[in-house]
Amino acid sequence: MDRIPILRMGRTLLVTVQVDMHDQLAVRLLDDLTTMITKTRARGVLIDISALDMVDSFIGRMIADVAATSRILDAQTVVVGMQPAVAITLVELGMELPGVRTALDVERGMELLDDAGDR
């Protein structure tokens, strides 16, 4: 079964969702990510979903879960590059992802993580 690759850049983990997220894939990502965070002692997680053009409530919840889990493991999560259609869908579904930090693109997301890491 295919999986979403998790790249390590210093103390930041980089997840780029390039394929259509189906439920199994999302669950697997959550598993892999939490393992990776503890293994690498990462301080930040950056999830790039700019290639994702469709979400449902399950995927929305997985994104929120990833952020919450990472926070417990002492890693900041930033979701970057959400498409307008995806944002509208999530809002209409009533999932405003409180507590998830967002940025327009990877560059700004990294800045955000660096700022958080300095503190």
Partner: protein
Amino acid sequence: MASSTNRIIQVLQNSQVQLLADWIKALRAATGSHSAALISDPELQAQCQELIALLPAAMQSGGFDDVTGEPWRPVREFLAGVSRSRGRQGFSPSETAMFVLSFKEPLFINLRRSFEGHDDAKLFADLWDGLRLLDKLGLYTTEIHQQAREELIRRQGEEMLELSTPVIQLWDGILAMPLIGTLDSARTQVVMEALLQQIVATRSPIAILDITGVPTVDTLTAQHLLKTVAATRLMGAECIISGIRPQIAQTIVHLGVSLGDIVTKASLADAFKLALGKLGHSIAVG
């Protein structure tokens, strides 16, 4: 019936000049001085002449009963063109239909003049065919006139929707969207999409939603605003709402709508200043 059709066609072909003169006279009499101001004599004459020229061929191959068939297509297209231009020139639907209906009188006078005494029953049958035909064509012009009007209204509605949602780049990284008019669900959708698209296109981290021009805010409108702000945040940008008028602020509080942690400013200027500050710019006087 073959000979019946032939006689009107004959009149149309043989006394074109007489018909044209009579028709224009009848047309001017029917529509009064109002039409004279809207359409010039040469233009009217050209239109009449073209219809007189088009009719015989259509009658010959298409018959009198069915004007929706292929042989009548040139006539229909011509009438549709006339009808549309009448609509634009400001003619009423009845005045537009009158263009065709006023042709009855000259046609029948000329028909009688040519064939009086030759088999009056036949003359009556011819008249009747012609009457029905011209009525159908008249109705057709009215229909097209109506369609053109409806099209205009629809287009204006769309244009208004587009006009009312401009996204302005105030500064590098700062977008503003001044909203004018009532916000309903359909409009909010357009507003939201336009704003989010522009945020992506310009990579602007700050968007200002100015509602100075929104006359009233009810729970639904407030809900829509909240959604827009939430969607902006999800995309990684920040949304500031500005231009909330005193009455609207009161309404929002009375309605019990919580704007949560949304940043609101009284004026667009204040919001702009805040946005500049967030980007690390400051305004220096002098």
